[in-house]
């Protein structure tokens, strides 16, 4: 406990990073408010059945479930931590003397949620990421899911998205998804990894290369064994390049890819399937970081220093908003960020763990980062923007007609990115297709209204919001 006693640290996000940050900050002497929009703790990695559906052996679906149990108990029981679930931070004001968070507490998307304003001494952003799916013909059909959706439904609902499922995309995340699908009783017809042998394949052959991140190595090795047991083929250098069906998925086309991810003509084969789970990486949830004014890397993650401090005084960041490194990295970064936000020196062991995990982050990107050849599997009528149904052909046509390559203008002339998801699904894709990345800038990720808010709830906000007293000692049950 070497922090500034009584400092109020607000942590947004209760995934691995946020949980670790909340505990570290509290241990260092801060008073902590931990907020998450979800009604439970754990974030994406430890998504689990809700309290209303208790299960006897939840742990069979999870890795490091003990860590979760321990962390969540620690924050719930710590007298200096207030846990607020169902608390959606919907905007962040950057004031001259710090930040102010605006929160609505209640059921998701409800009208009449309770407003809450917080003006923390220190803020830790641990808002995580969502998975990213590159468009392909037919990806808008019901039955095509992001890999994260298949995972979330398996872990959080015990719902199987289908009986014959194809898993495709890029990165080690496909492995736990296939594993969870198997545990829903589904037949996993194959796991198709876009990157060619040499990436994950090499890790799988030579697990000692992963030895620096022992938790991860064991976890991945476990998945590989499981896939082998179920005779699930794992194929590198392949992709689902189209989904077919009348009103829902009935089959997919799988093709071999070259090193640039362009489909190799003549290698297509059609496989009957009733569901597809596809993800090609992750997109950080940057809304609050952008609103706070945090500097971003060229690949658009939050820039942090050795203590996980962002470029904005008083704001720290941890977990997948700072780079995609998996739960181990998120935990380690959270522990560093929480201590630093509390004004303490992070434990050297936490710093070392963080440094090790970062190596893994860099290698995932190097091995599985999106390669430009994927554009070749698009057709003119392929939907790019799922909300507004703007096609690839229309996007190009509008960009040509207006001689514009700038996302703001093309968005408003083609409508791509104007719908309810506010370009969360298509924004990066549209930027890449237009060649209009905004290096270092927020690009499509500037969303001052973080999630939709009922106009009546906006109207009911108090004029000068009364800030609640720094949190008392009881934690809300979640």
């Amino acid at each position: 406990m070497n922090g500034v006693r009584g400092r109020h640290v607000v942590v947004v996000g209760a995934g691995p990073a946020g949980l670790a940050a909340a505990r570290a900050a509290a241990d260092a002497g801060a008073r902590v408010t931990l907020l998450d929009a979800a009604d439970g703790l754990g974030g994406q990695y430890w998504r689990h059945l809700p309290q209303a559906r208790p299960a006897a052996r939840e742990q069979v679906l999870h890795h490091r479930w003990d860590t979760y149990r321990e962390l969540s108990a620690a924050v719930r029981e710590h007298p200096a931590v207030t846990v607020r679930a169902s608390a959606q931070v919907w905007s962040l004001d950057r004031l001259d003397d710090g930040v102010r968070l605006h929160v609505l507490v209640g059921e998701p998307d409800d009208a009449g949620r309770a407003p809450l304003a917080l003006a923390p001494d220190a803020l830790v952003l641990a808002t995580g990421a969502h998975d990213r799916t590159l468009p392909f013909p037919g990806w808008q059909l019901p039955g095509v899911y992001s890999a994260g959706a298949a995972q979330a439904l398996a872990k959080g609902e015990r719902v199987a998205v289908g009986r014959r499922v194809v898993v495709a995309g890029a990165g080690p995340f496909l492995l736990p998804v296939a594993s969870s699908l198997l545990r829903t009783g589904a037949a996993v017809l194959g796991v198709h990894e876009a990157s060619r042998a040499g990436a994950l394949a090499r890790w799988l052959d030579r697990p000692w290369e992963l030895a620096a991140v022992p938790g991860k190595a064991a976890e991945l090795a476990g998945y590989v064994a499981e896939l082998a047991r179920h005779r699930v083929p794992w194929r590198a250098g392949e992709a689902v390049v189209a989904a077919h069906g009348d009103g829902q998925v009935e089959a997919v086309t799988i093709a071999r890819l070259d090193a640039r991810w362009a489909p190799v003509p003549g290698t297509e084969r059609v496989v009957a399937a009733d569901a597809v789970a596809v993800s090609h990486g992750f997109t950080p949830r940057l809304e609050l970081a952008v609103a706070a004014g945090c500097a971003l890397t060229p690949g658009r993650f939050v820039v942090v220093d050795r203590a996980q401090a962002t470029s904005v005084p008083g704001v720290w960041a941890a977990g997948e908003v700072t780079g995609i490194g998996g739960a181990d990295a998120a935990l380690a970064e959270g522990a560093v960020a929480g201590a630093a936000a509390a004004g303490a020196d992070p434990a050297p062991s936490a710093v070392r763990a963080r440094d090790r995990a970062r190596g893994f982050t860099a290698r995932i990107e190097a091995a599985h980062g999106v390669r430009g050849g994927w554009v070749r599997w698009l057709r003119d009528d392929t939907v790019v923007c799922r909300c507004e149904e703007t096609t690839y052909g229309r996007l190009r046509e509008v960009a040509d007609l207006t001689a514009s390559r700038e996302t703001r203008s093309v968005k408003l002339t083609s409508r791509a990115g104007l719908g309810p998801c506010q370009a969360r699904m298509c924004g990066r894709t549209v930027e890449e297709l237009l060649g209009a990345m905004d290096p270092g800038g927020p690009g499509v990720d500037r969303r001052p209204v973080v999630v939709p808010v009922r106009l009546g709830d906006l109207a009911a906000l108090p004029d000068a919001p009364e800030l609640p007293p720094t949190p008392a000692t009881t934690g809300d049950p979640t």
């Binding site: 004014g293 007609l401 700038e406 203008s409 719908g419 309810p420 209204v449 009922r454 106009l455």
Partner: protein, 425 residues
């Protein structure tokens, strides 16, 4: 001393700014046979013109020169929308010109009296302004708040989609020979031996021109300074809320009578009103706030709350709708509430088309015509004197700039003659 013209061939006219005003000027000039180059430091149609709304209003303007210009411009838009559609073809995105009419409502007797007086003056100036009872207002807009006492219906009010409109004007200008160069920042002026402005220096080299038209929106003051001149344009921030798409329930541009007071006041403190309108995409736009905070682009929840209250007071059903986005922009604000359209009184070769505050989309076509008429010596459609840069309300504010700015200016005598021939009558 730089005389090189590395930025490209000399132009008759350089337009600084590819927003809607610069686009309208470029189109009018190019169609009149002038060689036009439009320069923008950013992308086209991406600054103020992409961060506002597309209302073409007469309802919010009291009798006077701004209203006169608005009436002319409104008629121009009707013709222009058709011309652009014909010229650019069916694949070009629609400018979404919709003459849907405006409805100004009030909930109090004094409010109604004020509105009545305004409408009488507007009628005298040629505006169609039809007083409606509360009941009639609800026939026009069934979802209006029960407290609405009455209002005035303005059938002439219309709207366009401002980004498409800007891109369409630029595309049309290009077809008439204009060159649009984005990512090129104007950094200073080129001066002839006689002191005349004969071009601009840019981040991509010098560019000679017979005339320079500053249409740089809220940055026009800064551009003028770089050229060695002065114009008192300041940013006035505005925020817009956008709902998720829904079936259409708002049919006109509907706003409370207080909007008028906000546009006419010079106060720096937060002012909000609620102009509520639906778009073709199914969203409802709610705008807007007025704040003088310089170019500060940090959003504030308090502003959104103010606007939401106004909107819900007019349309209670909106309380249930979701706001999915907010954005903010900087209106080019003039201290005397009139745009500057015309020659700089002190620097020959320099022209302004700026300072349209919250009406630049509406006023763009008439502005382009006025600029073209003035530069080419044609007859203007409206009397240009009220918008002149040497009008008394501006002259009174004018500082002595001549010597302070000399550093920005490059002498370009080598290009002077050629540039002088530039503008053909």
């Amino acid at each position: 001393m730089s005389t090189g013209v590395s930025g490209g061939a000399a132009a008759d006219v350089v337009v600084v700014g590819a927003g809607i005003v610069g686009a309208a000027c470029a189109r009018a000039l190019a169609r009149a046979g002038t060689r036009v180059t439009v320069l923008d430091r950013g992308a086209a149609a991406s600054a103020t013109s992409a961060h506002g709304e597309g209302n073409l209003l007469v309802s919010d303007k009291g009798p006077g020169p701004e209203l006169d210009l608005a009436l002319v411009s409104l008629r121009r838009w009707t013709v222009l929308a058709g011309e652009l559609a014909d010229e650019l073809g069916p694949r070009f995105p629609s400018v979404e010109h919709e003459p849907k009419g405006g409805l100004v409502v009030v909930a109090s007797e004094p409010g109604l009296a004020g509105l009545r007086e305004l409408a009488a003056g507007q009628r005298a100036a040629g505006v169609e302004a039809v007083e409606v009872t509360g009941e009639q207002a609800r026939e026009l807009e069934p979802d209006l708040a029960p407290g609405v006492l009455g209002g005035v219906h303005y059938p002439q009010d219309a709207q366009v989609q401002p980004v498409v409109a800007t891109e369409a004007l630029l595309a049309s200008a290009r077809r008439a020979g204009a060159v649009v160069r984005t990512g090129v920042e104007v950094t200073g002026g080129l001066r002839g031996a006689d002191g005349r402005l004969v071009g601009v220096t840019t981040s991509a080299g010098d560019l000679a021109a017979g005339a320079v038209v500053v249409a740089a929106g809220p940055w026009s003051g800064e551009v003028a300074r770089r050229l060695g001149a002065w114009v008192p344009v300041r940013p006035r921030r505005g925020t817009v809320l956008v709902t998720t798409p829904m079936s259409q329930r708002v049919h006109h541009k509907v706003y409370d009578g207080d909007y008028f007071a906000a546009t006419q006041s010079a106060g720096a403190e937060l002012q909000t009103s609620a102009v509520v309108e639906s778009t073709r995409g199914g969203t409802v736009l709610i705008g807007s706030s007025r704040e003088q905070v310089g170019f500060d682009d940090r959003p504030r929840a308090e502003v959104l709350a103010h606007m939401a209250r106004r909107a819900v007071a007019v349309f209670p059903f909106l309380a249930q709708t979701n706001v999915m986005r907010s954005y903010l922009g900087f209106r080019p604000y003039m201290p005397d509430h009139l745009p500057v359209i015309g020659a700089d009184p002190e620097l020959p070769g320099l022209w302004f088309a700026t300072g349209h505050e919250g009406a630049g989309v509406g006023l763009a076509p008439a502005t382009g015509d006025l600029v073209a008429a003035a530069l080419l010596g044609a007859d203007p459609a409206v009397d240009p004197r009220p918008y002149a840069a040497d009008r008394p309300t501006l002259s009174a504010l004018r500082p002595d700039v001549s010597d302070a700015q000399a550093a920005q200016v490059t002498c370009a005598s080598g290009t002077t003659e050629k540039a002088h021939e530039g503008v053909r009558p």
